[in-house]
Subunit: 380 residues, 2 copies
Amino acid sequence: MDNFVFYNPTQVVFGKNTIQKVGKLLNAHNIKKVLMVMGGGSIKKNGVYDEVVNSLKSSGIEFIEFSGVRPNPVLSHTREGIKLARENKVDAILAVGGGSVIDESKAIAAGFYMDDIWAAFENKFQIENALPLFTVLTLSATGSEMNPFAVLTNEEEKKKWAIYGPALFPVISIIDPSKQMTLPWRQTVNGAVDALSHIMEYYFMGTNEEVTLSINEALMNTIIKVTDKLKIDQDDYDSRSELDWAATLALNGLSGVALKGGDWATHGIEHAISALHPEVAHAEGLAIVFPAWIEYNKELNTSIFKRWAKNVWNSDSVESAIQKMKRKYSEWGAPISLSQVGITENEIEELANIALLGEGLGVLRELNKQDVISILKIAL
Amino acid sequence: MDNFVFYNPTQVVFGKNTIQKVGKLLNAHNIKKVLMVMGGGSIKKNGVYDEVVNSLKSSGIEFIEFSGVRPNPVLSHTREGIKLARENKVDAILAVGGGSVIDESKAIAAGFYMDDIWAAFENKFQIENALPLFTVLTLSATGSEMNPFAVLTNEEEKKKWAIYGPALFPVISIIDPSKQMTLPWRQTVNGAVDALSHIMEYYFMGTNEEVTLSINEALMNTIIKVTDKLKIDQDDYDSRSELDWAATLALNGLSGVALKGGDWATHGIEHAISALHPEVAHAEGLAIVFPAWIEYNKELNTSIFKRWAKNVWNSDSVESAIQKMKRKYSEWGAPISLSQVGITENEIEELANIALLGEGLGVLRELNKQDVISILKIAL
């Protein structure tokens, strides 16, 4: 087993009726004034907004509302948030929303102390200083609620890049699965696909890391099982809560222990897709690209692909496992080809160019432009 | 799924050649002077002592040595440690050893700020204040390196009780599996049995907590698999490191998520055994009591016992799984009956009395004296 460091100080407060605790939890951390970061308004429909605001008021926490975070959060809006946080001299950021809201909140929390937050994305240094971040999660998918990563899109430069650092771990994340029961089915599926993809980015780097690999299989199998159950009954609280906890564990460090940091080429290619086509959700891009990436790479590290086929898809061959995976994604309603989301062969070269803007794409196989083009062609 | 709070801020630094980092890690936390707590001297044979001392010296960390922690650490020795820590005004405790050394170190760290550390054991309040604790683990078994629990024996009162609290999480734990390759086989087995027992204390409280149950199965299966491999080749670093990481995860909070705090009756009964017979190692007591506890309780929560039989022991009946478990423990060289460790029927009543000294024994079934006697008779 490779050496590793595991560290994750985020406190997760999980379950029904936990959102109403947010004010007291902030009190306990001596927070007086927060920037409350939000998305497009769904939290006003499902009651989360009212619960949060009532709790803040009754605990005497001052809050400045900052809404309008987009599904692929953008740099310009982040800069507005940083300005607002500074003008109001807040003590902390309170993210209320899904992974995009949390990611942008992390960038605001770090940017509060920096001249230019984008420089951190360009220069890839670790973030050591940020405002404390508290989150109320309303869509389990990205794992951002319990990790030190944030992804942001620079709209002008069409770059979708990441920052990380110990200061970006949320202090506390509140997850109430009952608030996710009214989500559109498409978003539930996106959460499941996103979580599965995070696990696979690590898993396929494996050799014999038995603890991590078998935990990852446990998580993948659970996600598939409970998503199937939710397809039949979206009000199944137990399945919803298992999906939500699995999505958190999928990217909180545990699933990557001793797996060389993961591959992440699929995410790199997907980031190009959603940079060029912001209407394609992150998880939809992953659902399209991952089967193609596996197909293209299955002759490398053969034993791990076979293990995955057997232990997750009960298949004797990788080829058949890929088919089962695509069938499952289709059953759930996720796209499994570029053409389904309106992307044609003409765009493939541009997508490859964007995907390769960062440094190094993939670890199991470091992809060059021709590799990316081949994978995208499989995905057509 | 039941509501839960997950919080574990301990940083684990895991792998080969990690012990030599201890001085720099202490420097980074601004620690100048530590009480170095140790056991009976094995660390002087396996090189760990020299590595730690060299690292402390080259980083300019002052250290006061305090050795002699016993396998079931005792209150009187803990009090000596507290006195020494105070006299020397140390900034932190550095535990170098196995679970017993770490447990006693936690009690020293907490006792540093208290009039009487045993009052915390008697009154079961949460420990909110303690000296920062750093550990170098030399025997993976108890999970103490990544949790907020400590168990201590009050020799005079023959009580083996626990304290817990957020202040007892180690700040950093260093685990170098290569240092465990020279352990006597018996201690490797004790580590495996201890870890399996921790998982089972939670697992049997389960109903449909799919994430936690399937992770626990992954951990149990891994522990059994790699212990079998180590029996053939104790120098198998990969298997050793998997065992060590599994033992840490077995009691770091993850395995207990949404499982109602676990049952812990088996541990309660075992604590009576090792309070009365300190020559019986903790894990040996668990190897003896757990099969009997399962036998006695298998008609409660039937589905979980059947699931365990199938997913861990590949058995159609719980009865057959218990037999496989006992056979496996025997193969490894662990005792599976009281008579094997020289305990006769005459002592059963006294053991039951001691086991019931604390408040409440067991959750799946809260055991009364007759229950404990029945379980111990099965274990004869």
